[in-house]
């Protein structure tokens, strides 16, 4: 296992105004599962892109199996056996699962005609190995975020990679699916595949990784054997400060009932009724497909419902569109930031005011100064890392984009704020900031509903947790009276 399969030597990557990678030299051993950790902006994504050839390093060399790689490119690295799975999926929504998995390598009869039968069979086999029940002919756009991630992994598996790079693969998966993922990783390990595993979830790293390398501000800091370290030490090196408690402490003082959902019925939801109180963070737990996002989207007017009522301060709300919801004082920070949260082509400033433009305009005419003033305010208070608020948001890292989305909803001054997976793909330091922000909002009297698939986060932040399973509420528990296993059981319908 001590053969070096991939070696980086003095890699530097410079962009105008920022050194994304600063003299990185690092060796990866054949067959190991190697974790790469670091805050957002530490250089992890840049590193992967250099390894796969998506971008070129400004300086430095790379060696694969002892041989130097010149003029790296995505196709070249793929040929050599390096496959990467990114946070943002590269799937074709209108093609089938099978067509996506085998894209670029369709099995052919007589060299020309695509062998769809074989493709379907192979796809079935790969998916069965992964332990998931997905129809090979299903259109990818009809799958949930969680299942799409699994297709991405299946795609990489089909390319028979020697080095598999995974960038936050478990982020959109629930605990069940993460277990599947890890089973696959174990299988790949047995075959001698080297895995580079980038993740913010330290507990996962301790489950499956052999070594862990820490990056900070574009610099490679050090590598440790996983067996010889612990989460506290890793975090300390990542942020160069010890974090103490992972979740800010808070005494929950429950106030009056503010929000009520009565007998909500949709395609997926069977008959949902719940209440939210002032002073209390309400958590929604459950597996992918349980209906958590469906409830909040119905509340937000994003989806049509069959029947049901929403009450705010005792009066029935008439919500037919997100516009109505925002006017009623309800905001939704969506699960899928790229598709639903940000306007990639617009600047940070424009994104922040987008849901409440009347505040920065008079009679429809925009007050540019006020717009930028407000954007600056949020940039500072949320510590959004960018050289300028006029930057197009697509140039920001995932974590910073999420902060802009948060800023957008804070700007609307909604009374009810729903967070759907608020810290997905965000580094430890930023997570802390968001948790503190949520507590601050509660103190201000806001109502917070939080959907999270991260058990520690749910137990750390939510005061009361409602658990769902296949469209029904299976349990309601208080934070200090429940364990992770209890929630898991309720999520599985037991």
């Amino acid at each position: 296992m001590k053969n070096t399969i991939l070696s980086l030597s003095h890699i530097k990557k410079r962009y105008p105004g920022v050194l994304a990678l600063d003299d990185v030299s690092l060796d990866f051993y054949e067959g190991e599962t190697h974790a790469i950790v670091g805050e957002n902006g530490a250089g992890k994504s840049t590193l992967i892109k250099v390894i796969t050839g998506a971008i070129h390093s400004t300086e430095g060399e790379m060696y694969f199996e002892g041989k130097p790689i010149y003029n790296n490119s995505p196709s070249k690295s793929l040929q050599v056996g390096i496959v990467a799975i990114y946070q943002e999926f590269n799937l074709f929504p209108f093609l089938s699962v099978a067509e996506n998995i085998f894209y670029g390598q369709y099995p052919k009869k007589q060299g020309i005609i695509v062998d769809f039968k074989k493709m379907e069979q192979e796809t079935k086999r790969i998916l069965e190995d992964l332990g998931v029940d997905i129809e090979p002919l299903a259109q990818v756009k009809d799958l949930s975020v969680g299942y799409q991630q699994i297709i991405e992994i299946a795609k990489a598996v089909s390319h028979k990679a020697k080095v598999l790079i995974m960038d936050e693969p478990s982020a959109p998966l629930t605990n069940n699916e993460v277990d599947c993922l890890f089973k696959v990783i174990e299988r790949l390990k047995a075959q001698g595949v080297t895995i580079l595993y980038i993740s913010h979830r330290l507990e996962e790293i301790f489950r499956i990784c052999d070594r862990v390398s820490v990056f900070r501000d574009g610099r490679y800091i050090q590598t440790m054997n996983v067996a010889e370290t612990d989460a506290k030490e890793i975090i300390k090196i990542m942020v160069n400060r010890s974090l103490g408690e992972q979740f800010p402490k808070r005494n929950c003082i429950r106030g009056e009932k503010v929000l009520e959902i009565r007998n909500l019925k949709t395609n997926i939801l069977k008959d949902i009724s719940l209440e939210a109180y002032r002073g209390e963070i309400l958590g929604l737990a459950g597996l992918v497909g349980a209906g958590r996002t469906e409830i909040v989207r119905a509340l937000f007017g994003a989806d049509k419902i069959q029947s049901g009522q929403f009450l705010l301060h005792g009066s029935i709300l008439k919500i037919n569109s997100p516009r109505d919801a925002i006017q009623a004082g309800i905001g939704l920070i969506p699960e899928d930031r790229k598709r639903q949260g940000v306007l990639l082509g617009m600047s940070i400033t424009e994104n922040i005011s987008y849901a409440h433009m009347k505040t920065i305009s008079r009679f429809g005419v925009i007050d540019q100064t006020k717009d930028e003033y407000e954007a600056n305010r949020y940039m500072e208070s949320l510590k959004i890392k960018t050289p300028s608020i006029r930057q197009k948001i697509k140039n920001l890292s995932g974590g910073n984009q999420q902060k802009v989305v948060l800023a957008k909803w804070l700007f609307t001054n909604c009374e009810v704020l729903v967070f759907d997976e608020p810290t997905r793909g965000i580094d430890v330091g930023a997570k802390q900031e968001i948790y503190r922000l949520m507590h601050h909002l509660i103190e201000q009297g806001k109502i917070i509903i939080m959907i999270s698939s991260e058990m520690p986060e749910l137990l750390g932040m939510a005061d009361r947790i409602i658990v769902m399973h296949e469209g029904r509420i299976t349990g309601e528990v208080m934070r200090d009276q429940v364990t992770q296993e209890d929630i898991m059981k309720l999520s599985s319908g037991l």
């Binding site: 990557k13 962009y15 105008p16 105004g17 920022v18 994304a20 250089g43 994504s45 840049t46 892109k49 971008i55 937000f300 994003a302 569109s321 997100p322 516009r323 919801a325 925002i326 006017q327 939704l332 969506p334 598709r339 639903q340 949260g341 940000v342 306007l343 990639l344 082509g345 617009m346 424009e350 987008y354 849901a355 409440h356 433009m357 009347k358 305009s361 429809g364 005419v365 925009i366 050289p387 300028s388 197009k392 140039n395 920001l396 890292s397 957008k408 609307t412």
Partner: protein
């Protein structure tokens, strides 16, 4: 970072246009005269006004092939009303209403039925052209009152009235797109309609408004054309959709929506006009003019694309 460095790659089209002017003024003495310059401006006024409407449509990710036919119906309709004795102001209002109604119908089927804009406006283009012919029985309509001709043939000092109208339309269009929440929503919808909806933007309403606005502008252009040729021709505006869309694309408006500035569209319009005018002065045969126009479009967009890739490389962070 307060320093604003000039991004030369954005001005590719502008340079191409200036190069064209240089070429033509060297080839033909009469090209660079005041008379000819205003000639060009007046020629492009009609396409120019339509392109402002088209810009709004394409920015939201839509498309409008009905422009030429709205011009036709507006010209014929206005001519019939005025030759029947209605005061010009009534005829103008009716023509504008026809244009707006056409836009409304387009938007209705696009919004509520979900027909792709290019298909819906294609249908509108065909049937409206038929309506134009039906209204006038196939024959041009004469008898336009003198006072109406001003908007097509009149001058304010040395500046032709159509040019003034075009400038006003561009200025108002610029203001709406860049300084109002409506304009920002237009860009937002083109960039990501779903994220816009989830941010509380009334996407359907804005789609209605832009198609209606575009329809009104096309109708206005039709009236100016009517005044210019002093007759309501059922064939008026035929084929204009190509010139209008080309001008927008040349000007940097992305057909996938959400990207492009109206300033570029002015250049696109001027570029097309300059090209046509120069070729006529040089006695280039008509069929060759078409070839040249098509080639110029492809070259200009290629330059723009290459420049855009250069911009992306420079500003992308991991």
């Amino acid at each position: 970072m307060k320093k604003r460095t000039v991004d030369w790659s954005r001005y590719g089209i502008l340079f191409a246009w200036i190069a064209l002017i240089i070429v033509f003024s060297l080839a033909e003495n009469s090209f660079l005269s005041i008379k000819n310059i205003f000639n060009i401006l007046r020629q492009v006024a009609i396409v120019g006004i339509c392109s402002v409407g088209m810009t709004f449509v394409i920015l939201t990710g839509g498309m409008d092939l009905s422009v030429g036919s709205v011009i036709g119906v507006s010209a014929v309709g206005g001519a019939i009303m005025m030759s029947s004795g209605f005061p010009p102001i009534i005829a103008v209002s009716v023509a504008l209403i026809i244009g707006m109604t056409s836009g409304f119908i387009n938007a209705f089927f696009i919004n509520e039925v979900g027909i792709a804009p290019i298909i819906m406006t294609l249908g509108m283009m065909t049937s409206l052209r038929g309506v134009a012919y039906i209204l006038c029985g196939g024959y041009p309509v004469y008898g336009i009152p003198e006072e109406f001709l001003i908007i097509g043939q009149g001058y304010l000092n040395v500046v032709p009235v159509p040019v003034i109208i075009m400038l006003i339309v561009f200025v108002v269009g610029y203001f709406i797109l860049n300084k109002t929440t409506f304009g920002r929503s237009v860009y937002g919808i083109g960039g990501n309609a779903e994220a816009s909806r989830l941010s509380g933007v009334n996407v359907k309403m804005i789609i209605y408004k832009i198609y209606i606005l575009a329809g009104a502008l096309y109708a206005l252009a039709g009236l100016i054309l009517l005044a210019r040729v002093n007759s309501g021709q059922p064939k008026a505006g035929d084929g204009y959709e190509m010139d209008v869309i080309t001008a927008c694309v040349l000007g940097g408006i992305s057909v996938s929506g959400g990207e492009g500035r109206i300033g570029g569209v002015i250049i696109g319009v001027l570029m097309m006009g300059t090209l046509t005018n120069g070729m006529i002065l040089m006695n280039v045969p008509e069929f060759w003019q078409w070839v040249v126009k098509g080639v110029v479009l492809v070259i200009a967009v290629t330059i723009d694309q290459v420049a855009k890739k250069g911009r992306v490389k420079a500003s992308t962070k991991a």
